[in-house]
Symmetry: C2
Subunit: 159 residues, 2 copies
């Protein structure tokens, strides 16, 4: 934890940015909820618990900054809000997500399974891949007994 904060502080100062108290509070909230895919509003409310004087704009600015420096990723799960998560340290690509259409839970596949497909894309389409996003929509193991007609869940969600 302290290690990660220190590391991020260095990444910031390498680009002539300071780890201000507000930025540090935001980073700590992200670190403490690393598996939760928080929205900006989520982060704002959590930061406010520790530092009530912080403004929403500052949270947005900090998230944008961390995103610009490739420290965190912006995610979109089709619910209209941008969510944020740390990039895996050293990982080249984004990991994959499993979204349950019944309970909304987002699980993760931390391994990158797209290697062979990427090779095929690069060759067949002459497309140089920098990153990818892969999301599966379906019924998670916790819900499978409660859903009778999965086809009914093919709604009108954005993705």
């Amino acid at each position: 934890m302290e290690e990660r904060v220190k590391q991020i502080k260095q990444q910031l100062s390498a680009h002539n940015y300071k780890l201000t108290p507000q930025r540090e509070a935001t980073v700590r909230v992200l670190l403490e909820n690393e598996e939760d895919h928080l929205s900006a509003e989520d982060v704002y409310l959590l930061v406010k618990e520790k530092a009530p004087e912080i403004g929403l704009a500052t949270v947005y600015r900090t998230l944008e900054l961390l995103s610009d420096l490739a420290i965190i990723h912006k995610l979109n799960f089709g619910d209209g809000v941008t969510r944020y998560e740390f990039r895996a340290e050293g990982a080249e690509h984004h990991h994959h997500h499993l979204i349950c259409l019944h309970c909304g839970t987002v699980d993760e596949i931390t391994d990158d399974w797209l290697g062979p497909i990427e090779k095929r894309v690069e060759k067949q389409f002459d497309f140089q891949i920098i990153d990818h996003r892969l999301t599966f929509h379906g019924i998670c193991h916790r819900c499978k007994d409660q859903v009778k007609d999965p086809k009914k869940l093919v709604g009108s969600k954005v993705t």
Copy 2:
């Protein structure tokens, strides 16, 4: 074309919806620009050329209706607007997209290359897949000579 319109008319009436002139105009615009990933605003402007009396709300309502009936898909390419495209007839799953970070073009992989990975997900995570989204971000063949440092393009886009 006429065939597709007729088919959509039947899909609507099967759910007790009518293919009104406004809805038909919207459907035709979608059909005539099938490869373009139009936004609601795009559709609105194109429909207005033929039927100037149509309202923006009606376009949104029609797109939502077509989406509910699984006739079209809602897409999000990280630029803040929802885009729409027809579902491939009979295709179980959504196709894949290649987004160029330099020129913004969206190309398509119409084949489904995820079969083996889906099997693995279903088994390993006990997750019943209903649909998926796969997007590659990178440099398209048209831009590859103009981009020297692809790493620089790893911006803060939502995806």
